[in-house]
């Protein structure tokens, strides 16, 4: 089983994130980069599948030089190798372009399974898995809270508002995972040492056969017109419960016509 895991480096969510004044792209320089949290679940699922069914797990990251740190971390969790798509021409790409670039690489490396997080914490578009399925022309098994492989069949539980759907397809396929699916492992000391020697292939646009006219800020299908910090909320009324806290809350709700 040849598994590709798409891993994105994102700014730490615990610190204030902002846009750059010039081109309204995310300021990735001033904030620490981490593996997008849901992508750790994607990595864990890939490792479990390869442990149970054999095969190789390849990390695929598109991102600046700095993203190499996240790639190392992913390798230290136990993945076998990585591809880093790195080219200044990619900066400012939107979801449509990112999916095109990732699909170009994945088509070249070949795959039985592509696994993604269902959403990134910075862009939060949740578009990538469906776009990749569409581009690669394979089944979309997204929002998975459970994955079961019985090659060539693959079955998942797809999270829904009302519970979940059981979904079945034939490999190759694209899977995206939700947080409930597993508990990602921590890299072991041995894993960290081993990761230093694992192969990381760095690809430019030309190496990956990506048309430079179809990626990057200038060619993006969407455009930021303006942006602003949201004004802080007005300070509210805070009362201390002196045995009447519930009553006061009810009074407030009544005054606001909620009851």
């Amino acid at each position: 089983m040849n598994i590709v895991v798409c891993v994105k480096q994102v700014p730490d969510t615990a610190v204030e994130r902002t846009l750059r004044p010039g081109d309204a792209t995310l300021d990735r320089e001033s904030v620490d980069g981490l593996i997008n949290e849901l992508d750790e679940y994607a990595i864990e699922e890939a490792l479990r599948i390869s442990e149970a069914h054999g095969g190789e797990v390849t990390i695929l990251t598109m991102g600046p030089q700095k993203a190499a740190d996240s790639i190392r971390k992913a390798l230290s969790m136990g993945c076998d190798k990585a591809v880093h798509l790195l080219d200044d021409g990619l900066a400012g790409s939107d979801a449509l372009q990112t999916s095109y670039a990732l699909a170009q690489v994945i088509t070249r490396t070949g795959f039985d399974l592509v696994i993604l997080g269902s959403e990134s914490t910075d862009a939060r578009t949740g578009l990538l898995a469906a776009m990749l399925a569409e581009r690669l022309g394979v089944p979309q098994l997204s929002l998975a809270s459970k994955v079961e492989i019985d090659a060539p069949a693959i079955r998942i539980h797809r999270q829904a508002d009302y519970g979940y759907d059981k979904v079945e397809a034939a490999l190759p396929a694209v899977v995206s995972v939700v947080e409930k699916i597993n508990e990602p492992r921590y890299p072991s000391f041995k894993g960290i040492m081993a990761a230093k020697k694992k192969p990381v292939q760095t690809l430019s646009l030309a190496d990956a056969g990506i048309d430079p006219a179809q990626v990057g800020l200038a060619a993006a299908a969407t455009e930021v017109v303006s942006w602003a910090q949201r004004p802080p909320r007005q300070a509210g009324t805070i009362v201390k419960d002196e045995g009447d806290g519930g009553a006061k809350a009810a009074e407030y709700l009544a005054a606001q016509k909620f009851i």
Partner: protein, 317 residues
């Protein structure tokens, strides 16, 4: 006037509120036309008319409900090619966004997600980084596709003809890759859907256990609210994961959000801070969630919530 296609969401013929919100926005841009997949269009028609749909394109094949997103995206792509609409609006739900994603690839169009407003000139307002930044953005390639966050706008009625127009788009085998073999309904009782509810009551670690979530449910039911939970509560297994609010859970923007025993970590705030009114019940006056509160009670939730439920009951009697 150019058409604006609105992908209608419904369960058993009942049109979801978010669809009425989309129709309200679509009227600013052009002439709204709804797209209906599956049976029961006749049942949903009245509501679509009430919110101004000029017509309803109906594809009633069973395959739209039997496979993951592929058939719906194919239908939309066919309609986009045939009608050259000014824009396509979908609900900003996980599935709505996936349909938008596939349509974007098929039609070479840009997609804007998480829109909280859309102008007549198709500039979308997006709330990003958990609501701390407001962005105005537009699509400059293909047919603009906008996924609008549920509850972001107030639906306004305006009568439309809602003429039912059957469409016959054959679904390709390629679109039928992922087959839905069973839908498993997990109990939610009679409560409204979390992302659509106008009132949400959420419990956090302070609630202390699965049994005491009954208290959160009682408060929710007294307000006709949906129940939410912080990640601390869902991780502990006190409440099912699909009710998690926050960065890695649902984003909600109700009229009223009540946070009970929740500290207000940045990742939780990311899912709720655009709520119109926020009420907080927490025993720690230093909890950061109070910074968002329009009204806050510093106190023990096991004393405050029962009294609140009782008082609401009395006032509503």
């Amino acid at each position: 006037m150019a058409e604006v296609l609105v992908f209608a969401e419904h369960t058993g013929g009942e049109v979801k509120k978010v669809t009425c919100e989309l129709l309200t926005l679509a009227r600013r841009i052009g002439e709204p036309a709804a797209i209906w997949t599956g049976p029961d269009a006749e049942a949903g028609r009245e509501r679509l008319a009430e919110f101004g749909a000029a017509r309803v394109y109906v594809a009633d094949g069973a395959e739209f409900d039997e496979y993951v997103t592929g058939p719906k995206a194919e239908l939309l792509a066919a309609l986009v090619a045939e009608k050259s609409p000014a824009a396509v609006l979908v609900a900003g739900t996980p599935e709505g966004k996936e349909i938008a994603a596939r349509l974007a690839v098929k039609s070479g169009s840009g997609v804007l997600t998480d829109a909280v407003d859309v102008t007549g000139e198709l500039v979308a307002e997006q709330s990003i980084f958990g609501g701390s930044i407001v962005v105005r953005a537009k699509v400059r390639a293909g047919t603009p596709i906008v996924a609008v966050r549920p509850n972001a706008v107030t639906p306004q009625a305006e009568v439309g003809a809602a003429e039912l127009v059957p469409v016959d788009v054959p679904v390709s085998d390629a679109a039928k890759g992922a087959k839905i073999t069973e839908r498993v309904m997990q109990e939610r009782g009679e409560r409204p859907e979390l992302t659509e509810a106008s009132v949400v009551v959420s419990g956090g670690r302070g609630v202390g256990g699965a049994e005491s979530f009954a208290l959160i449910e009682q408060l929710a039911d007294s307000l006709g609210a949906a129940v939410g939970a912080s990640r601390a509560a869902t991780d502990a297994g006190w409440y099912p994961h699909q009710f998690q609010v926050g960065q890695t859970g649902k984003t909600v923007a109700p009229q009223l959000y009540v946070a009970v025993g929740i500290s207000g970590a940045i990742q939780h705030r990311a899912g709720m801070q655009t709520s119109k009114t926020i009420m907080v019940i927490n025993k720690d006056p230093e909890a950061p969630i109070f910074e968002l509160a329009d009204f806050g009670v510093v106190g023990d939730l096991f004393k405050v919530v029962p009294q609140l439920v009782e008082q609401i009951g009395q006032r509503q009697a």
